[in-house]
Symmetry: D3
Subunit: 144 residues, 6 copies
């Protein structure tokens, strides 16, 4: 069976700030710029979840993308859409909600939510029209 | 001289909530849904400002769109980008920051910022990939 | 109250053909080209529904766009998504499902589905990346 | 018959500069900025041509959009695609190739190229992701 | 010579259904959902074909993308555009026309259509704004 | 620390031609088509620069994307925006400005401009809506 990648896109809107409370205002401004505004800002995130696996000979699917959407909705979107990433998301507690950290956290939410034989291949997270991040999972060294 | 419309697009990111403090949680939920989350959410706004006027015979411009961009940046973007629309924007104080009200307020910020002979024709404000608002200014009755 | 336009976008996928059974194959080919293929083809339609009205002073809304989405889903998308426009849609029976006729039929489905004081302003229907149609309702003469 | 608007999009790539030879370098820089570079620059233009008319009861078309595309290709795209707007386009000779002037010139190329009963309603010309122009034809006063 | 990847995008529109005739209506609904509608539905497909190879020192090309477009048009688009994927495409006979199977079949149509020294690197096929598939060819094990 | 990729997008507009002066007009036409027009043409380029590295535990960043933008602006955009790629860009002198060669040259401009521990992973350059190129750097063999 050929190995194919399938991607499902979802959208959500969240507030966040990038700010270390133990740093001074100047340090925060210097490192995080406008993103450190203590009154929050927010984004329309675009999230592409890619899974990889053999094509099922009967369905022609790597997996049912509706099921993938349900998993992404239940494990990610329901927790972050119209939410504040710094204060409301249990699986982001203590995490600086940069796009990088957010993508890695989404990976960890989804990696074990897939059917047998299907693996999470990529989390692509667009924060703005000009900024995006992708994570393809831990390296072999990390996995050990 | 032909009358032409020219549009300049800008992007910005803001936090907001839609919530009336004098209403109960239930009323807020019922009317504003997830947008009433008291912990904020946010958006990547796309703003298209359209001006209309005769084409200058020497420059071929309705107006210099760089100047339009500077006006939009100074009067709108600088105040709202990476900001909280409910608490940080003087010209939105006391205004429910719905897309509709936001677009009207942007109109009022820009209508008198244009060169002689050029009129603001349209404010188009996209809040999400699926929701947008446009305002073309007060009616003649309102202007009186 | 300012009069503002608000737009909600929805997506759906349908099959159709453009073909007059009383015409010869040659006539159909000549007028409708590949769209006359009797084995069907299909599109990802993008539908923008624009409503117009005064902004409610309490909510800041022309109308709740979630309610608009519900109306569009119930009256249009539920009938046409993953459907065949020629044979399965009661309100398109006997209608050549061109983008033009489809947009007009969508207008007729929605014009009376809006709250008091809100009027349907525009149906914009994109059939392909390069082809789209817009309908803003019957003229005054037609309405009489 | 309902009156509907149909739009066909085309793409082309051109070089141009905005520069008045009788002006000094300083004046050109001041008015046209980087666009005055005497070594040229260029754009991927996106052109949306909108026509308006009654829907034909047999075809469901305002007009055959393939015919519209052929007219736009023959009268506009063939002359400007992979061309220099300042020096190679007969119908732009002596015209400052701003987006505004270009849109008006395109209107004049197409207004009389449509079938009976169909009128050119709008020329929308996007020069960059952030800048665009639209022209809806001469006013009644101009037409007299 | 550096090894570079070049991508050509094409668009086409097709009808299809996902349905196994030997299954009951309930099984088909359960696995394929609305896609199993026996009256067909369809999509605007976006197809990105990526080739990889050394850059020719004289032309600066991996290969002439116009030639790539001609190959994609002749071997893929001409067979599937405005066609029914289930019943009209010889190289899809007996294939469930899921996006996955479709992408693999497109790979097989193109892999041997490229000039010497250029290899097909990726077939990316978008079926809807939210669903897409990519195939990068058989693994080494499969190729043996 | 997880290894993540972050991408910053920039836009610029340039003129160029693809033409070998030592070739006849016929040869140039045959190989480069309309791109060989000696009067130039141009494009709105979209450039995605991807960097890869471990996520900083304090900032959550692979690197500050504003710093990446500054590097891309200083080393690439400032030299090519509103410029002629054939005659004005020192680091393209003697280079046929195909998208492939341009992407490789951009790689060479940026590969050593990144902070310690961050590597350039990909240069993606879109020349038109349908044509794009990506370069992921020299192979190990080339690097030796």
């Amino acid at each position: 069976m050929p190995i194919v990648r399938a991607t499902r896109r979802v959208h959500f809107c969240s507030a966040h700030m990038l700010r270390r409370p133990e740093w001074s205002e100047e340090e925060n401004r210097s490192v995080f710029g406008d993103c450190s505004n203590p009154n929050w800002h927010g984004h329309n995130y675009v999230l592409d979840i890619t899974v990889e696996g053999p094509v099922d000979p009967e369905t022609g699917f790597v997996m049912d993308l509706k099921k993938l959407k349900e998993a992404v909705t239940a494990r990610v979107v329901a927790d972050v859409d119209h939410r504040n990433l710094n204060v409301e998301v249990p699986w982001l507690t203590g995490v600086m909600p940069s796009t990088e950290n957010f993508a890695v956290a989404i990976w960890d939410r989804l990696a074990d939510a897939l059917p047998d034989g299907v693996r999470l291949q990529r989390v692509f997270l667009r924060e703005t029209p000009n900024n995006a991040v992708e994570y393809t999972g831990p390296s072999e060294a990390e996995r050990r």
